[in-house]
């Protein structure tokens, strides 16, 4: 068998909200996940180009090594291999959005109606049109997803979530599982293994999107009351309908800004975010952490799954490549958040340094036989290997 094959898209778990796909639409996703994987596996080429051409040329011209990310950027941008790799990667991500949107938007009304039928009369979906989409989300279309998470092309639209749900398989080349829940599963396993006596009664997931990472938590703690909040109404409508169809009864989806929720002080045992904070803003992230501290009960736990922070022992090349996706796949705050010290972020809200924890988490993937992904080359932010930081409130 050939190496490095991605799973076929039709292995993605089917549920009532997943958009219908034609033969060619599935084939298009298969092509794009293969192209994505190909580019991840040839991305060592940029490192080779950097080490054998870019850095030596700079040294020859300047009589010294490259000293900053800005110098590195200016130098590597002249390299033809970097240019072709980057332009192909950007093109792949644009094609992924085009493919997802073309299949989703053609059936936007049908999807909207399906969600409305599943959501009708349910107290577990609480939308609030008064909630403003935060300015950091209005400033950019994260993941070069035109219209981002909140734009409604139709009244009651769910298309942004349907596009995200059906296409994230392509971006991650099938590494995060049939339900795209590899992150949520990994954190659930970690908490149960390390804190078997932790029995949260009330759990909050902030920036839940379509809820794919909160459902494993809901499954692991069936007696807990779980609330998942987001500002994007299309994500919540779709996420709630998806959860209904998948048989989850203990998750309430609410439209709310994580920096200013309506919940009472000390009312949650566990507050979780998964790949959310790097899509916020430089001031908002502190406000959100203040809110997390306010809402946590004494003895409560908060965890945040994120990309690794930059450390002093990380090369400028690696930092530059980690910024690549942030700037060229439009997750711009990520390029700034890398430089925040999570200890300082949490201490600023009242958490104590001695209660801080940081762990690595690897996605659990039910698309591969033993549930563990094969070793992948470093793909600077795409690999399903994350940094988790957090603290108990004591």
């Amino acid at each position: 068998m050939a190496k490095n094959l991605t799973p076929v898209w039709n292995k993605v778990a089917k549920h009532a909200m997943l958009p219908e796909t034609t033969h060619d639409e599935r084939a298009r996703y298969n092509f794009l996940s293969n192209l994505n994987k190909h580019l991840a596996h040839v991305s060592h080429g940029t490192k080779t180009a950097y080490e054998t051409r870019v850095a030596p040329k700079f040294k020859k011209e300047h009589g010294r090594d490259i000293q900053s990310r800005a110098e590195l950027k200016a130098a590597i941008e002249q390299d033809p291999h970097y240019q072709i790799w980057s332009s192909l990667r950007r093109s792949t991500m644009e094609m992924r959005q085009q493919a997802g949107r073309s299949l989703t938007l053609r059936q936007a009304k049908a999807l909207r109606d399906k969600a409305a039928a599943l959501n009708e009369g349910k107290s577990t979906l609480v939308l609030n049109p008064e909630v403003k989409v935060p300015e950091y989300l209005l400033a950019v279309d994260n993941h070069i997803m035109p219209g981002s998470y909140h734009t409604e092309l139709l009244e009651g639209d769910v298309a942004p979530a349907a596009n995200y749900d059906s296409g994230i398989f392509v971006t991650t080349a099938g590494l995060i599982g049939r339900y795209n829940d590899g992150g949520g599963k990994a954190i659930t396993t970690w908490v149960r293994q390390n804190y078997p006596d932790f029995k949260p009664k009330r759990i909050l997931d902030i920036g839940c999107g379509l809820g794919h990472n909160v459902l494993p938590i809901a499954k692991a703690y069936p007696d807990a009351e779980i609330i998942a909040i987001d500002t994007g109404a299309p994500m919540l409508r779709y996420g709630h309908a998806r959860a209904m169809d998948l048989g989850y009864k203990n998750v309430t989806f609410m439209q709310m800004d994580a920096a200013k929720t309506i919940f009472e002080d000390e009312s949650f045992d566990w507050i979780q975010s998964t790949m959310f904070l790097h899509e916020t803003g430089g001031k908002s992230i502190y406000k959100i952490m203040d809110e997390v501290y306010r809402l946590l009960k004494p003895g409560g736990l908060t965890l945040h799954i994120e990309q690794p922070q930059y450390t002093d022992d990380m090369s400028e090349y690696e930092k530059f490549m980690r910024d690549w996706d942030a700037l060229n796949n439009s997750e711009p705050y990520w390029s700034k958040m890398h430089d925040i010290d999570p200890v300082e972020l949490m201490e600023a809200s009242g958490f104590k340094k001695e209660n801080f924890m940081q762990i690595g988490a690897k996605a659990e993937n039910d698309l591969v036989e033993d549930g563990v992904n094969a070793e992948e080359p470093e793909d600077f932010g795409r690999s399903p290997i994350w940094n988790v930081f957090g603290a108990f409130k004591k």
Partner: protein
């Protein structure tokens, strides 16, 4: 009656922020994008042909000659074929549409937006 979404045009929209170009000559990047989209569609077609050939082999009901001589038999079939072409061309020429959208609505760079967001 609710208005229909122009999903073909909407699907190829650009995202916020000035598009990064990596080649010195933008024309190179434009042609590369068009070429990669065609590469994708060729792969899609290859997968479809693979399905057809496997099904034909399995069932043995359709001859190659019948396929060779087929033309659309109803107005509906004609429309389906033409819609396919329209969507196909929009997909392949996505970058040209997006450059036009950028001209119509000049944008900040993502680095400028990162700085803006850092103050939000």
């Amino acid at each position: 009656m609710e208005e229909e979404l122009d999903y073909i045009k909407l699907a190829s929209n650009k995202s916020k922020g000035k598009r990064p170009y990596f080649h010195d000559d933008h024309a190179v990047e434009r042609v590369l994008n068009i070429t990669m989209a065609i590469a994708g569609e060729l792969a899609v077609m290859r997968e479809r042909m693979d399905s057809i050939e496997r099904l034909l082999e399995k069932k043995g009901t359709v001859s190659r000659e019948e396929i060779e001589n087929f033309v659309p038999e109803t107005p509906e079939q004609e429309e389906q074929r033409q819609s396919w072409h329209s969507e196909y061309i929009s997909r392949v020429l996505r970058i040209v549409q997006q450059e036009q959208e950028e001209m119509e609505n000049p944008d900040k760079s993502i680095e400028e937006i990162a700085n803006d967001i850092n103050e939000m």
